[in-house]
C-alpha cells in the first residue's frame, strides 16, 4: 500500500470517527432534557396558579429577542461558559470539581482588588493583569484540593465543597474589612477603575469572545496535545496511565490548577465585565451552574457554549419574567436542577460505560 493510500484511509477513518463523536443522536439527549425540564417546570408554575406560557415567552423574548437583550445574555453567559469549562476539564481528568463556586469567588474578589488597586494603568495592561490575578487565585484554591487528592488521597468532592464555604467566609471577611469600600457599611469593595472594565463592542461584551476562544483552545489542547492526552488518560484509567509513565499525581494537580484558573477567570470576567465590584451575593450559584452546563454540554469544551448561552439567557430574562408573569426568578434554579437530572442519567451511562474503572470515582480512597 502506498503512503498516500494509507493517508487517505486515515483521513477517511478519522472523519468516520469524528462523525461518530458528533452523532446527532447523542446530542439529542441534552435538547430533549431541556425541553422535558421546561415542561415539568411548567406544571409546577401552573400549580402555583400562574401561566407558564407567559413566563417562558417573557423569559426568552427578554433574553434573545433583541440585540440589547442578547448582549446582556452573552454577558451573563460568559462566567457560565468558564465555570462549565472548569468543571469539564476536571471531569476529563476524572476529578469532580464541585468547588468551581469558591474558585470563582476568589477570582472575582482578587480581580476586584486588582481593578481598584492598579488605577492609572492603561486598559490594555490593567485588564490582563486583573484577569491573570483572578485566574491565579482561582487556581490556588483548586490547587489545595488537587494536592490533597494527589498526595493524601482526600476526595476532591468534599475538599472543594468545604473550600467553597471557607472562601466565602474569607471573602466576606475581606470585603467587610480590609477591602471594603471606604465610608460605606455594605459588605462590598469599591467600584473598579474605568481602565479595568471590559470593553463592550456595540452591545456585545468582549469577555464572551474571550471565553469562546478559551473553550476552543482547551478543546484543542485536550484532543491534540500530549498534555491533553495525559489528562485524559489519567481520567479514564489511572493505573494504565501510571504504568505508561504518566506522572499521575502531577497530572491530577495540574488538571485541578487549570480547572481552578478557568473558574477564577470566570469570576474575574464577572467582576470586570458585569458587576464592576465584588459583593458577596452577586456571584452566588455560578459555580454550581457550571456542573449542569458541563454535563449538558456532554463534557465537551465546545459543547458547553450553547448550554451556557441558554442558561445565561434564562438568568438574563428571569427578572423580566417575574415582572410579566409573577413567576419567581428562582425558576431558573429549578430548571437547572431538572435539566441536570434528566441529562445525566443517559449521559453518564454512555460516557463512562466502557471505562475500565467502572465508575468514575470510587469511594473515598484513591
Amino acid at each position: 500500500m502506498s503512503e498516500t493510500n494509507v493517508d487517505k484511509k486515515v483521513v477517511k477513518n478519522q472523519s468516520e470517527e469524528s462523525r461518530k463523536k458528533f452523532d446527532v443522536g447523542s446530542w439529542l439527549i441534552p435538547i430533549v432534557a431541556v425541553l422535558v425540564a421546561m415542561l415539568l417546570a411548567a406544571i409546577l408554575i401552573k400549580l402555583q396558579g400562574l401561566n407558564p406560557i407567559t413566563a417562558y415567552k417573557s423569559l426568552f423574548k427578554t433574553a434573545f429577542g433583541s440585540i440589547e437583550g442578547l448582549g446582556v445574555t452573552l454577558g451573563k453567559s460568559t462566567p457560565l461558559v468558564l465555570s462549565g469549562l472548569a468543571v469539564a476539564v476536571g471531569l476529563r481528568a476524572g476529578l469532580f470539581n464541585i468547588g468551581a463556586q469558591g474558585q470563582l469567588l476568589s477570582g472575582a474578589l482578587a480581580a476586584a482588588w486588582a481593578g481598584v488597586t492598579f488605577d492609572g494603568l492603561p486598559g490594555y495592561i490593567h485588564i490582563p493583569i486583573a484577569l491573570v490575578i483572578g485566574a491565579f487565585f482561582g487556581s490556588v484554591v483548586a490547587g489545595i484540593s488537587g494536592f490533597l487528592k494527589a498526595y493524601r488521597g482526600v476526595h476532591e468532592v468534599i475538599t472543594t465543597i468545604m473550600l467553597n464555604s471557607i472562601v466565602m467566609a474569607v471573602a466576606d471577611y475581606l470585603a467587610s474589612g480590609k477591602l471594603r469600600e471606604p465610608d460605606q457599611f455594605l459588605t462590598r469593595t469599591s467600584e473598579i477603575a474605568e481602565s479595568a472594565k471590559l470593553p463592550i463592542y456595540g452591545n456585545l461584551p468582549s469577555g464572551f469572545f474571550m471565553a469562546v476562544v478559551l473553550a476552543i483552545s482547551i478543546w484543542w489542547i485536550l484532543g491534540r496535545t500530549t498534555s491533553g492526552f495525559r489528562i485524559e488518560t489519567v481520567g479514564r484509567n489511572r493505573h494504565a496511565a501510571w504504568y505508561a509513565g504518566i506522572p499521575v499525581k502531577r497530572t491530577v494537580i495540574s488538571a485541578m490548577l487549570i480547572s481552578g484558573s478557568i473558574a477564577g477567570l470566570g469570576g474575574a470576567v464577572e467582576t470586570l465585565g458585569i458587576t464592576y465590584r465584588y459583593a458577596p451575593a452577586f456571584n452566588l450559584g455560578l459555580g454550581f451552574d457550571g456542573i449542569t452546563i458541563a454535563l449538558l454540554g456532554r463534557v465537551h469544551p465546545i459543547g458547553i457554549i450553547p448550554g451556557a448561552v441558554l442558561i445565561g439567557g434564562m438568568r438574563a430574562g428571569a427578572a423580566n419574567m417575574q415582572f410579566d408573569s409573577g413567576v419567581a426568578p428562582e425558576l431558573v434554579d429549578l430548571l437547572m436542577a431538572l435539566i441536570l437530572l434528566l441529562v445525566t442519567a443517559p449521559l453518564i451511562t454512555r460516557f463512562f460505560k466502557n471505562s475500565s474503572n467502572k465508575s468514575m470515582t470510587s469511594g473515598w480512597g484513591n
Partner: protein, 327 residues
C-alpha cells in the same frame, strides 16, 4: 501489659479535659457541652445516613440535599397545616423518596454515585429556592423537656437529658444503629454487601434489595436531621439552610471509621469545638472574626480528612455498582 489503645487514649484525654474545665467553672462548661450536643446532633445523624449507605457499598454525597429539602418540607408543611407533627411526617416521607431516587440512580442505573449524589443536592437546592416563600411561620417547635430523675444528674443531666423530642429520637437512632450493625442479621448482611457483594449474593442475600432498603431508610434519617434543624433547633427555614452539614457528616463518618459511635464521638468533637469558639467570643476572651467561627467546621473537616486519609479502610465495595453473576 497491653498497650493503651489509641482510641482509649483519646477518650482519656477528653475526660480529663472535660473534668478540668468543669471544676474551673461548672456552669459554663455544662452549658458549652449542652450547646455542643445541640450542634453535634444533626451532624451525627447525617453521618448515620452516610454509614447506612456506605456499609452497603453506596456512596451518598446527597445527604446535604436530603437534609435541605426535608428541612424545607418540614417547615413548609408545618406552616401550611399549622401542625409540626404532620410537617415531620411529610419531611420523613420526602427524605425516603430522596433516598429512593438515589437508589434508583446508583443501584438500578449503575450511575456514578458521586454524580448521582450531586444531582440530589442540586435538585434540592433548585426546588427549595423555587418554592421558598418569605414570611411563613410555624406554630412552634419541638420544645425541650426534662427526662425525670436523669436530668438531675449534675453535668450529664443538662447535657444529655434536657432536649426536644427529635434530639432524643436522634440519640436513640444512633445507639440502635450501632447495635444493629454489629449484632443483627441485617447488620451482618449489610456489611457483607458493602464489603464483598458477590459473597452475599451467593449466600442468597439480595444485594439490590438490601441496598434499596438501606439507602431509603437512610434518606428518612437524613430527613430527621433536616427536620430537627427547622422544627426544633431554629424554627424557621432559609435558602441554603443546611450550610454544608451533609458534607461535614461524610468526614465524620470517615473519621469515625464507619462506626456509629465513632462518628458520634467525632460529631461531639466538632460540636464542642464550635460551642467553645462561640463561648470564647461571648466571653470576649479572644476577638475572632465571626467569619472565622463560621468557617471553623469546614476547616476542621478538611484537616480531619487529611489526617485520616490512608489510615482508614472504607467498605471494600464502596462506590461500585453490582452486577449479578459477574463474580
Amino acid at each position: 501489659m497491653k498497650m493503651l489503645s489509641k482510641r482509649n487514649g483519646y477518650f482519656l484525654v477528653a475526660i480529663l479535659a472535660t473534668g478540668f474545665f468543669y471544676f474551673n467553672g461548672s456552669d459554663v462548661t455544662t452549658s458549652v457541652y449542652a450547646t455542643g450536643t445541640v450542634f453535634a446532633l444533626p451532624l451525627a445523624l447525617a453521618a448515620m445516613v452516610g454509614i447506612m449507605c456506605e456499609r452497603t457499598g453506596i456512596v451518598n454525597i446527597g445527604i446535604e440535599g436530603t437534609m435541605l429539602l426535608s428541612a424545607f418540607v418540614a417547615f413548609f408543611v408545618s406552616s401550611l397545616t399549622q401542625n409540626i407533627i404532620i410537617g415531620l411526617i411529610a419531611a420523613i416521607f420526602t427524605g425516603s423518596m430522596m433516598g429512593l431516587i438515589l437508589a434508583v440512580m446508583a443501584v438500578s442505573w449503575r450511575m456514578d454515585q458521586i454524580i448521582a449524589g450531586t444531582i440530589i443536592n442540586i435538585l434540592a437546592t433548585g426546588l427549595t429556592s423555587f418554592l421558598y416563600v418569605q414570611g411563613r411561620t410555624i406554630p412552634g417547635v419541638f420544645q425541650s423537656f426534662e427526662i425525670p430523675i436523669l436530668s438531675k444528674i449534675p453535668f450529664f443531666g443538662p447535657v444529655l437529658f434536657i432536649h426536644g423530642a427529635l434530639t432524643f429520637a436522634g440519640i436513640i437512632i444512633i445507639l440502635a444503629l450501632y447495635v444493629a450493625i454489629y449484632h443483627t442479621t441485617w447488620g451482618l448482611r449489610s456489611r457483607a454487601v458493602g464489603e464483598h457483594p458477590s459473597s452475599a449474593d451467593t449466600a442468597g442475600v439480595s444485594v439490590v434489595r438490601l441496598r434499596y432498603i438501606n439507602v431509603t431508610i437512610a434518606g428518612a434519617i437524613g430527613a430527621l436531621a433536616g427536620a430537627y434543624l427547622s422544627l426544633e433547633l431554629v424554627g424557621s427555614f432559609e435558602r441554603g439552610f443546611t450550610a454544608g452539614k451533609g458534607f461535614t457528616a461524610l468526614a465524620l463518618m470517615i473519621f469515625g471509621r464507619w462506626n456509629p459511635l465513632g462518628a458520634l464521638a467525632a460529631a461531639m468533637f466538632f460540636g464542642l469545638a464550635q460551642a467553645y469558639a462561640n463561648q470564647l467570643m461571648i466571653d470576649q476572651i479572644v476577638n475572632i472574626p465571626s467569619q472565622f467561627t463560621a468557617a471553623l467546621p469546614y476547616i476542621m473537616t478538611i484537616v480531619v480528612l487529611t489526617i485520616s486519609a490512608g489510615k482508614v479502610r472504607p467498605p471494600a465495595a464502596e462506590g461500585q455498582p453490582y452486577e449479578k453473576g459477574q463474580a
